[in-house]
Amino acid sequence: MSQRSSKNIKFVDADILVIGGGFGGCGATYESRYWGRDLKIVLVEKANIERSGAVSHGLSAINCYMGMQWGENQPADFVRYARGDLMGLVREDLIFDIARHVDSTVHKFEEWGLPIMKDPKTGRYLREGKWQVMIHGESYKPIIAEAARKSASEVYNRIMVTHLLMDKTRPNRVAGALGFNVRDGQLHVFRAKAVIVAAGGASHVFRPRSVGEGAGKTWYAPWSSASAYGLVLRTGAKMIQMENRIVLARFKDGYGPVGAWSLLLKAQTTNAYGENYEAARLDEIKSLVGKYAETTPLPTCLRNHAMLQEVKAGNGPIYMQTQQVLDTKEKENTGWEDFLDMTVGQAVVWASQNIDPKEKPSELTTSEPYVMGSHATCSGAWASGPEDCAPADYQWGYNRMTTVEGLFGAGDTIGGSAHKFSSGSFTEGRIAGKSAVKYVRELAGNPPQVDEAQLTMLQQEIFKPLENFEIGRNEIVAGSVAPSYISPLQGLQRLEKIMDEYVGGISTFYMTSEPMLNRGLELLTMLKEDLDHIGAEDLHQLQRAWELHHRVWTAEAVLRHTLYRQETRWPGYYYRGDFPKLDDADWHAFTASQYDVKTGEWTMSKLPVHHIIE
């Protein structure tokens, strides 16, 4: 065994362990300190919370804000909006819960120093769209991180969390987490009464459009490593909507988001011939999805679908007609800040390709799929709802607790509650944080015990890639090809190709089917077996190895859910060629999966979608 794995272990005991210091995790840390003044609250993060997670760049808008103080919107309206966007399938209780709290989060952000833009006429926040407000958000993450740092008992940066630990006697109860320090390799064992997973969503599960060096240029961050799903599902927690991967219309190559351009600046999206194609395709869309085509605004997936049909028909490139709207210096500033605040790469595309958005339109593309719970899709863990308004079967204890005792989640981790975005993720973290405090208080003298046998086994498993490399590397002279191990990147490229070609990625125009999925599952199963043979040449690559593990497990869930749902619910996100239409009679339901840790089997089921709002 590698020397590194025999080093002293560091044990950290906590009342509440928060995994991931992004938006959900910072919210959870803040709120659990508010309610649990005397508790030991530990935040563990694989990077540095100052700039970790999806918001490391910054953001230019807060996409979930009601404005109840000005009577702009009510939570129930927001539920209708999110439900419509997701073609009917959302956890209305969870969404309502976020919507009713999110304004207090945003007001706090402003108090902390986040510059929120104001409408000079009304003095209210400047609206990007009905639900979004504009910010000067370059320092969004450092501001939020400051609040979290001041709330946590301890923050452990640069610890890659690899596994959750389970209670010795009660197999459905969480007991902590395992990880290693990516600088010195020290194994960290966190023992905690409650664990809140807020480890974000997933890029690089599907093959990205960019290649070679450019592979890092995904829309969601390359470090969004699917850990939330990879950690949680392996405990046996129930997952939902994992097939509901997101594809986004984005500025080509730079991946600049379109929201501010469409909603605030009101730039047109057209085909190569300057035509607004969306309306022209409405009848065809209706034939696929029926009444859902009449939703306003047109659901995100259907906007994608219209674009894809144009591209397939050879009417591309699709363009954002930026030059039609940048008629004042102020608007030019808004347009540029939108990207300089959150995807600088788009500015680099403009500069390198001599595109001045004041003069020329910019190409759009549909992105590779991502797995997320916080944007316009809602993959993630099945969670207990708010005590006051969740339907009975959505409620089994503590708000935002998964089906595993003591295991909570927030942000991308939690399924069913789309359109949280940054503010909603932080808010959900707050909800989970308060809830975890309550759980810990009520747990009282019955703390979980880490299973020593599990710990010893996992310790070996975690460092195995270093050992694989040390041994296997001796067989060959030099270079990157060896018979007995593959690098994390090689494994990742295999994963991405499988998901791309069989599970509805870009190379099939998001098409899949039962035969494709079954073939994909065969190949994915072999890849899973090969995970035992990943070779890591250093601790950085050991981090990549475990990110790969989390992505592969997540991919399997995505594949199995996609196979289970025999309809095309969200054309524009993916298509089942064998079931090309939306089918409300059979599929107005959540798909759920549960991995059985003992047998290694997955159980698929349907869960009801309750509409608690007209």
């Binding site: 803040y30 709120e31 300190r33 508010y34 309610w35 990077a47 100052e50 700039r51 490391s56 760049h57 103080q69 129930a76 439900r83 309502f96 709290h101 304004d103 207090s104 007001h107 902390w112 120093g113 986040l114 000067h136 370059e138 320092s139 400051e146 609040a147 001041k150 070679g212 060096e213 450019g214 592979a215 890092g216 995904t218 390359p222 470090w223 190559d253 540029w336 600088v344 790469g345 500015a347 680099v348 595309v349 500069a351 390198s352 390709q353 001599n354 001045d356 005590e387 006051d388 308004c389 339907p391 009975a392 808010t427 707050r430 308060k434 309550k438 950085h540 009801p608 309750h610 007209e614």
Partner: protein, 151 residues
């Protein structure tokens, strides 16, 4: 535009190593200066660029789609609460922008434990910290619990 480090500017302080969310800014063992070990995992997030005291890090657009000859430089001034950008086009055009980043002093956030401790009963309510005040409305909205309803 993955990052690169100018040899003559870097002093090996490690700030970039400390901040990079992708853990890809490493110190070269020979030169004791930083470099990007995995450009294909760089998100061009500029966290390291903004953090470098020597302004030693720059980016050039990802080779698979960005022609050469451009630059996007940044100066983030925490105390002034601003960030300034200078964008140089391949064809020589230049654009400059400055935006605010924060309205309060760094470090000024009031920790949750500095607020009055909440009432013990409140733990069982649906209210979060600072609510309902911070909501800007009088009451936290709620809904009747329904069992199942078609929409």
């Amino acid at each position: 535009m993955p990052t690169f480090t100018y040899m003559t500017r870097c002093d090996g302080c490690g700030e970039c190593v400390d901040i990079c969310p992708s853990d890809i800014m490493h110190i070269d063992p020979v030169y004791r200066r930083s470099y990007n070990v995995e450009p294909n995992f760089c998100w061009e997030c500029y966290s390291c660029v903004k953090a470098c005291p020597q302004h030693a890090i720059d980016v050039r657009g990802f080779a698979d789609f960005a022609p050469l000859g451009h630059s996007v430089r940044v100066l983030r001034e925490e105390k002034m609460g601003t960030i300034s950008w200078k964008i140089r086009y391949r064809d020589g055009r230049v654009k400059e922008f400055t935006f605010p980043i924060r309205t309060t002093p760094w470090g000024s956030i009031k920790p949750p434990s500095d607020y009055a401790a909440p009432d013990a009963n409140a733990l069982g309510s649906q209210m979060l910290a600072h609510e309902p005040t911070a909501l800007g409305v009088e009451m936290l909205p709620t809904l009747p619990v329904l069992d199942k309803k078609e929409v």
